[in-house]
Subunit: 341 residues, 3 copies
């Protein structure tokens, strides 16, 4: 898709400065951009690279000084750029029409315009909302429901009975609805604690490659609207995640923990079972939250076990100086010993 | 499936108290249960929620005081509830019959009643035990063997030559038998150390979604009976895991480590190569075991590197007070300096 | 495949000592070897096990004393053994011919001798180099390119537009080219920062099961030649990895970090965004590198946050003795208090 600078400015809410008829053909970084590609710069220090770029059209802040370019001025250039990119680079279709090798159970319901790639399997009673695209080898189990406009990349597994809202973007290898890890030991071996609940996912959710979201044991595992999960994330049974929460790669959340809205969780974080993260909680990468703990909103935490970042840094400062503290202690002891004589 | 309270009591070894003809239709949590659904309560403090629940039939301890309900009294209510759940919620079939799109090599052997879902692929010489259900896209490679009563969810990969016992429950995305990570650097690049061994898995094993179990380099990677693995676990080449050991999500075990029976390993744990965990070892989530270390049974360990939990806590107590220790040291130094004058 | 001891010696550059006509049928460990299987021993302390082994033919160091065996003497026995293993155990084919259920778009280009397993899907404009074997359910998206001699195990996903060099070995469940985790929050919800770049992978790369490599946001995520990734590794958008770098299981590398050549990275390592690891960097398992940090080559680092291993050990020594330090401090304080009176 191509747009004129003026069309882009109008659509993304930017103020045009320069030749509005300039035709933009795509997005790029300042270093790699062709003349017709759009770039953005949101800090003073990167203005120079924008200036040097071959790109003619640049999204900038309202007061950035940049000459010889067609400017799209916006309060948040990165956001404006993201909007422009969505226009210039609409996602490629993941499937078109119903591929003859797709297997759709007679009682499954496909909304208008649903597309199924090769070897997709849709089981009995499953429902897929209008316009959804289901990639090759993607599987929608018995009575599972997907909203409208969902996009499933190749080989996504949705177990039977799971519920997913509209416009979900689900990457390859995701598994939604596997049994939670609930066991009872007795009579010399493990029994499975019932894992018969569901997964309920809101609208506008994105789920990264090879991430797994387990069904509730009893009741549901729930993700709100606009939740964003990176790759290889593990969401255990009965976890609850509020709207607009983002979770980076390889993080794991144990059973029954609840996470508020607008939380930001780094990569490789571990959250024990029955924790509660308040709205706006901020967890640094690789930190660990002990089972049952509460994490306040708005205060970044870090460490294993996690503590408020300021406290972590204060402790870490002295931790790194432990050999020095030990030496100082030794000096005092020597002085005291001398005095005793 | 539905059962009367009396039928359940008889089957799960509970003592019935109240109307044995009451018909139970499923399992639920106290909060969500309908009148006909079974709940359980195993601690004094949750009796109130059981009392308030719409559920009529409750599994309780032998001496719990709960009126107005049909009671199933059992020494271990959670275990009894798990048994009842297995009766009330038998797992849905993962495949029925041999789907016409399943591809079965002529020399593969399917036991009686084996079911293959759409697009399953069973290669030459593979053997699948009676009654096993193989979900869509699941792949059983050349000469691999599965015991009776196995259940493979959609898209499980069993590489050629791997061995799996009876009643395995394997979730979507699992990969069994990929090459171990064995490399030899020489002549300016990596050579592959041979990864030609197998995986041998006992009976009654459960493997969570997207978990990977590598083949032995030479010899076998082995999992005993009743081993339970959560999601996204990594088991490297030649690891040996004893019976009844449970491993939580995102834990990784490096090459040639041996783990005894009845070990309990938390999530995101890292175990170096050539470690030995004794029977009954208990590893807290996110801990790290250095290569070659031994972990004693029965003593919980935590930290990176891991130490016995009691020791960990003792050190951590002072770690968190490091700024205070540093201040106290400074005070002593000031006093000593004053005295010197 | 079988070879005589002389043939092996010639091919792997070893010096034969003993009966060159002895026929070797495979590789094994000293404990499990049959008489006709090759073993190796590269340290004095394992000579005894080699001596006891049924194996007749042994790869040893130039000066090892081992009698009654056919010896293949090499400076690096493990390397020589790896070379012999590659001859004795050529990998089994992952596909043969073009399976009738493979779906190949008309505009896709398959090199000579390309084999496609059941249910492989090759989309429009994709190119696959000569002799490559594509396992069942493996997917090569629109305009993606694979070099010659690649081996894709069952169900690998290569998103459209990605580039992979020659002789890649890719295990089951790998996802190459999913969207990076780039988000912009504005107007009350997340917008996707454009994820329209590619992945460019060199020659002779191996990628372990269920590993994910995200496409660049703008520009490319790049892996050099001879890069080796273990299972469940996460490579974020725009990461750059130099030649001959090896990364163990469950490690994650955040966006735009650059890693030099011949780096060795342990398992469960976390590397923040915009880090730079120099050539030959060595990262201990489970360590964490803060965003933007530089890691020097040749100096092992460990800890969270990581520091040079020698420094880590020095600090850790005192960390483990914190209760003792606190006690010593208390003694000094008591003495000082006494003196004050």
């Amino acid at each position: 898709m191509t747009f004129t600078a003026r069309e882009l400015a109008d659509q993304i809410g930017a103020i045009l400065e320069g030749d509005g008829s300039f035709r933009v053909t795509g997005c790029a970084s300042p270093e790699d951009a062709a003349a017709s590609e759009l770039i953005f710069v949101d800090s003073e220090k990167h203005l120079e690279s924008a200036s040097r770029s071959r790109a003619v059209c640049v999204v900038v802040t309202p007061d950035a000084a940049l000459s010889g370019k067609v400017l799209l001025r916006a309060a948040n250039p990165k956001l404006a750029f993201a909007k422009a990119a969505a226009m210039l680079h609409p996602p490629a279709p993941l499937a078109q029409g119903i591929h003859p090798t797709a297997i759709v159970a007679p009682s499954a319901k496909l909304g208008e315009g649903v597309a199924l790639g090769p070897y997709a399997v849709i089981e009995d009673g499953a429902e897929i909302g209008a316009g959804s695209q289901i990639g090759p080898y993607s599987f929608v189990g018995r009575n599972a429901k997907l909203g409208a406009g969902c996009r499933l990349h190749p080989r996504v597994t949705i177990y039977g009975g799971m519920r997913i809202g509209a416009r979900a973007l689900i990457h390859s290898g995701v598994v939604i609805g596997a049994d939670g890890f609930g066991l009872v030991f007795g009579e010399g071996h493990y029994f499975k604690f019932p894992q018969i609940g569901t997964v309920e996912i809101g609208d506008d959710v994105e789920i990264g490659a090879n991430t797994t979201i387990d069904r509730g044991a009893l009741g549901a595992t729930r993700l709100g609207n606009d939740v964003k999960l990176d790759n290889l994330v593990h969401i255990a049974h009965n976890v609850q995640i509020g709207d607009h929460t983002a979770i980076s790669a390889q993080t794991g959340i144990a059973g029954s923990s609840t996470i508020g809205s607008k939380a930001i969780i780094g990569g490789q974080v571990g959250i024990g079972d029955h924790c509660h993260l308040e709205d706006g909680a901020i967890l640094g990468s690789k930190c660990g939250i002990l089972p049952g703990k509460i994490v306040r909103g708005g205060v970044p935490v870090w460490g294993i076990p996690a503590k408020p970042l300021a406290k972590f840094k204060e402790v870490q400062f002295w931790h790194d100086r432990l050999p020095d503290l030990a030496e100082r202690l030794k000096v005092l002891e020597a002085a005291a010993a001398k005095q005793d004589k």
